[in-house]
Each structure stands twice: as C-alpha cells, then as structure tokens.
Amino acid sequence: MIPHGAANWHLVIRRLRADRRSVAALAVLLVLLAVIVIGPMLSAYGPREQPDITNLAHARPSMAHLLGTDAYSRDVLSRVMSGGRVSLALAASAVVLEVMLGICWGLAAGLAGERVDAAMMRCVDAGMSMPRVLLLLALLATVPQVPLWLFVLFLGVTGWFGIARLVRGEVRTIRHAEFILAARALGATPVRLARRHLLPQVIGPVVVWATLAVGQVIVLEAGLSWLGIGVQPPRPSWGNIIHDGTEFLTSAPWVSLAPGACLVLVVLAVSALGDGLRDALAPGQLPRT
C-alpha cells in the first residue's frame, strides 16, 4: 500500500475519541442530522401542509403534532426538520465556499512577493473592517426575494477574510522552512509546493476554523431570515420559523422555541467540536497512551 495523507489524522481521531466533550458534540450533531435527514420522510405532514387552518392553528404539542402547529396549522416538527435541512445545507455550502476562497487568497498572498502580499492583505483588512451583517444587508438589499443559491454566495463572499488571513499567516511562517527550500532545490514547482507542502500544513487550523464558521453562519442565516431577507417563505428555515412564531411568543411559544432550541444545540455542539479539534490538532502534543 502506498501511504498517503497529510496531518496524522489517525492520531487526531484517536485524541478526539478520548475527549468526552468532542464525542458528546459529535453525537448531538449526528442525532440531529439523522432526524433532519430521515425525519421528513417519515413525517405524516408536509412542511407546507395546512391540515385545518380554522381548528388546528396554534395547537399545543400533542401526540398528533409532537411540537404543536403554527398559525397556519402547519406541523412545527415537520417544519423544523425541513428547515434544518435548509439551514444546515446552506451553512455547510457557505462555509465550503468561504474556505475555498480563503485558502486560494491566503496561499496566493503567502507565496507572493512583499508588495502583492501587502495589497492582498489590505483587501482582507478592508473586508474585515466592515461588520459582516452590514455587508450582507447591503448585498441582500439589492435583490428582492433572494434565491437560495445567491444567499449562499453572499454568505460565502462575506466570510472568507478570516480564513485568508489565517492561511496566509501559516504560509508565511513555513514558506522559509528548510523542507520547503529543500523541495525547491529538488525542482518542485510553485503549484506542487503549495499543494503538496504548504496545504497539508495549513489544513489543521483550517478544519478548526471551518467547524467554528458553521456555527457562525447558522446564526447569521437565522438572523437574516428572521428579518425576512434571508431564506424566503414558504421555504422553511430555522430563522424564518422563529420569525413565524415571534408574534405569538406568549400564546404559542413552541413555534419559536423548537427551532430556537435546535439552533442553540447545533451551535453549541459545533463550537465544542471545533475546540476539541483544535486541541486534538495541537502541534507538539504527544499522543495519549
């Protein structure tokens, strides 16, 4: 067998499994993910189905509707599961986009000469100097009824500055490492250097960053959708389900509380996992035996 790979992922996984916090976080995420993926297939009601708008609106949680119904008699559980699909898929794709943009920009800046690097990093500074929510509000204001893919794109292009800075910093510190010089002395091309020697070194911090970014994006999505400029109804997302319930927070609190609780749970789990990953990837740490 030809061994292949970058960081010692066996070791990372072993450390992660020894960390209770990470295991718990992972378990929570997996259960939630399973419910969200499988749940809608088993559900008796569709997320947009309005069984009886006159008699069933704001029904309390019961055996028929485990999490009650909303103002249009829609099953909240079904909506939360479908909305979770949207929220999580959206967050994941936005983070993938952020990471790709950030890695490309960071690698390029890190390998570039001093002036190009400075120019590229000033762009990043400019991006970071504006609050992301503000940037997103400005972008979303230009498109009424934003389609989902464009929302993902907006989230992606406003979120890569931090990762670019992180990658660039890592590249700057290792680009003068002797093994990079040795690789160059033996004929490695810049692309090969980046792909085979630099990328594997930065991938650890990037994974940690990306995990934490998922939590951030979920919250952002919820906030913007709550404002009505993110995911557009009738497509459910955790943000706009919370919005649907805010009017009736005292009379029918379950409508907002159910997606809200999911949101909190996911964000907590994701950041716990991110912390665990960071510890597991900590350089210089000896494997626990």
């Binding site: 040795a182 002395a185 004929g187």
Partner: protein, 345 residues
C-alpha cells in the same frame, strides 16, 4: 541535433565573479562577493570556512535559491553543463534542480517534510521530474532507500522522519538527492549534525555514490578532516571571498593564506599533546562590517600597514593554487608573526 555546447574536458560547473547582495535596514551588504571557482567532472571541491563566511549562501546561489531581499548581481555567471544558470527561465531551472544538480542539506530533521513518509518524499522528487505512475515512483524510492544502505527499505519507506534516526534521515536526504542521478551534488555540511561514526559511513556512501555515477560534488564543510578524506581540491572562503584555492594534498602540506594556516592550526590532531587547541582570535565580522582592504587583516598574525590600506588580489601561484594575501609579494614577512591584537591596532 545541435552540437554539444560543452566538451568533457570543460569543467562541469564554473562560477565567475558571483556576487550576492542583500538589502537590509542598514544598507546593502554583499555576503558573497566575487566568488569564482571550477569543478571538473567527477571531482570533489571542498568549500571550507567558518560559520558566516558565505559558504552556504554560495551553495544556494548555484541553484538560484536566493529569495528577496537577496539578489544575485548582474555580471555573475554560473556555467553548468555549458549553460549559464542565471539566464535560464523558471521551467528550465526547475528541470536542472533535482535532476542535474541536487542539494543535500545539513539538518535532515528540518529539511525533510514532517508530514510525509520517507518513501513519499523521494517519490515526490521522481514524480516532479518524470511522468511515470505513483507506483513506479514509489518503487524507485524504495529501491533508492535500499541503495543508500537503509535496511528493510519497504518498511522504512512508510515511516515518517521523526521515526528515523538522525543517520537514517540523512540517508533519506541523500536518496532524494541521488534518485534522479544528478551530475552535480551540492552537499552543505552533510554530516555536521551527526556523530562521528555515522559521519564516516555517510561520507563513504557519498563518495561511492559519486564514483558510481561519475558525478561531481561541491562539499561544504568546516571540518578539515572531512576535506582530507573526501575532496580533491579545496577552496577556502573568508568574509564572502575565496582566499585560497589548492589541491588538497598541497594545501595540507603548505597552506599559503594566514587564514588557512589558522584553520589548520586549530584542527585537533591525534598524537600531539597540547593542553588547549590553537584558535584564530575573534570571529568572522558580519557582512556589513568587513574591513575594506584585506578582510582578514584584523585577525591576522602577519598583518602590516599595507593590509589595512590595500585589498590583496587573488594571486595565482601555479599548479592551480591561489592565495589572496600580500605575503605572496613580500614572503619575508611570513617569518615575523606578531599577535593579532597588535595587527589590529
């Protein structure tokens, strides 16, 4: 087919007036200042000198591995296989690096990438220069590990640098350098980081590998014992310049430059009883602070007024010997050494 641009009698590598400058906060410094030497085919040239005299930088310059703020000055020429490496494009240059001329670094722990196994690092060099499959490159890497004397290479190839001993790591570096059968090996203090018994083994390995391939070698070292064992000719470097060049036996028999004499005197010898080793007083000054006339004058036991006012040329002494010292003109002064402190005063 074009006519060959170099004949076998030409030197494989010729450096001509190579200068490297660095722009620093304190102005322009020239840590490699007008270095010229030749290496014939199959020959080993040792480049010796103290730390900070520009040896390693000269080695990096040959493969154009000087990064900004460093710069190889125009007017420098590095002729290799009849081509000036300084005029090559990036792609042509990369084809030379690793395939025709390969470099071995001093500290294999830092020169090997910690996240790849020994075999992968060697296979990587193969894949950079050939179009074969992963499998072929891997097999070649394993074979190469065997060839540099690593036992059970199939197993060792899958191990990471931190799982190998220092000697084995250096063997891996040597395998990386040799795998494409280069005609020139540049070895920058290849055994300095290792203990003496391993040093001897690795020098033997290098010598054998070199002889089997008819390759030339630039051996950078500060260890004159290594020089005597491995090299045919020696160039002594001080403060960015070559101060003496000679065939190895002639140099050991009669060093001409006071700096070379100092290095020889500082060498521990078996069979002599001395309480303390002789040393050369002082250290190599940093590149910005070199004396303007003779750069060794302030540490030299023979220095007189001429040495602090007039830079000595590199005198040709015949039989391939050179010396950058005014003593060549005024040999009678060699009889009257004084202490360096007086010379500097």
């Amino acid at each position: 087919m074009t006519a060959p641009r170099s004949t076998p009698t030409d030197p494989l590598l010729s450096l001509r007036d190579v200068r490297v400058t660095f722009r620093t906060g304190d102005g322009l410094i020239t840590p490699v200042d007008g270095v010229s030497f030749d290496i014939a085919r199959g020959e080993t040239l040792a480049l010796v000198g103290e730390s900070g005299c520009g040896k390693s930088l000269t080695a990096l310059t040959i493969l154009r591995l000087i990064d900004p703020p460093g710069r190889i000055e125009p007017g420098s020429r590095i002729l290799f296989e009849g081509r000036d490496l300084l005029t090559l494009g990036d792609r042509e240059l990369r084809a030379v690096r690793g395939r025709q001329a390969a470099m071995i670094f001093q500290e294999p722990m830092t020169a090997l990438n910690p996240v790849y196994s020994a075999g992968e690092q060697i296979a990587e060099v193969v894949r950079t220069h050939t179009s074969g499959t992963r499998r072929e490159a891997w097999d070649r890497a394993v074979a190469m590990l065997g060839a540099v004397g690593i036992p059970s290479p199939e197993i060792r190839a899958k191990q990471f640098p931190h799982q190998l001993s220092g000697g084995m790591r250096q063997r891996v570096m040597i395998a990386m350098a040799l795998v494409m059968n280069p005609t020139l090996l540049i070895a920058d203090e290849p055994t300095t980081a290792l203990d003496v018994t391993i040093q001897a083994q690795l020098l033997d390995l290098l010598r054998e590998a070199q002889a089997a391939r008819g390759a030339s070698m630039l051996l950078i070292t500060h260890d004159l014992g290594v020089v005597a064992e491995s090299a045919q000719r020696v160039a002594v470097m001080y403060a960015g310049q070559i101060v003496e060049e000679a065939p190895v036996t002639a140099l050991f028999a009669a060093p001409q430059h006071p700096y070379t004499q100092g290095l020889m005197a500082a060498m521990p010898r078996a069979g002599t009883r001395r309480e303390r080793l002789t040393t050369i007083p002082g250290t190599v000054p940093p590149p910005g602070a070199w004396p303007t006339a003779c750069r060794f004058a302030d540490r030299c036991t023979f220095a007189w007024t001429r040495c602090t006012t007039e830079a000595p040329p590199l005198h040709q002494l015949g039989d391939g010997r050179t010396s950058r010292c005014h003593l060549v003109d005024e040999p009678e002064r060699a009889a009257t050494p004084h202490t360096a402190a007086q010379g500097a005063a």
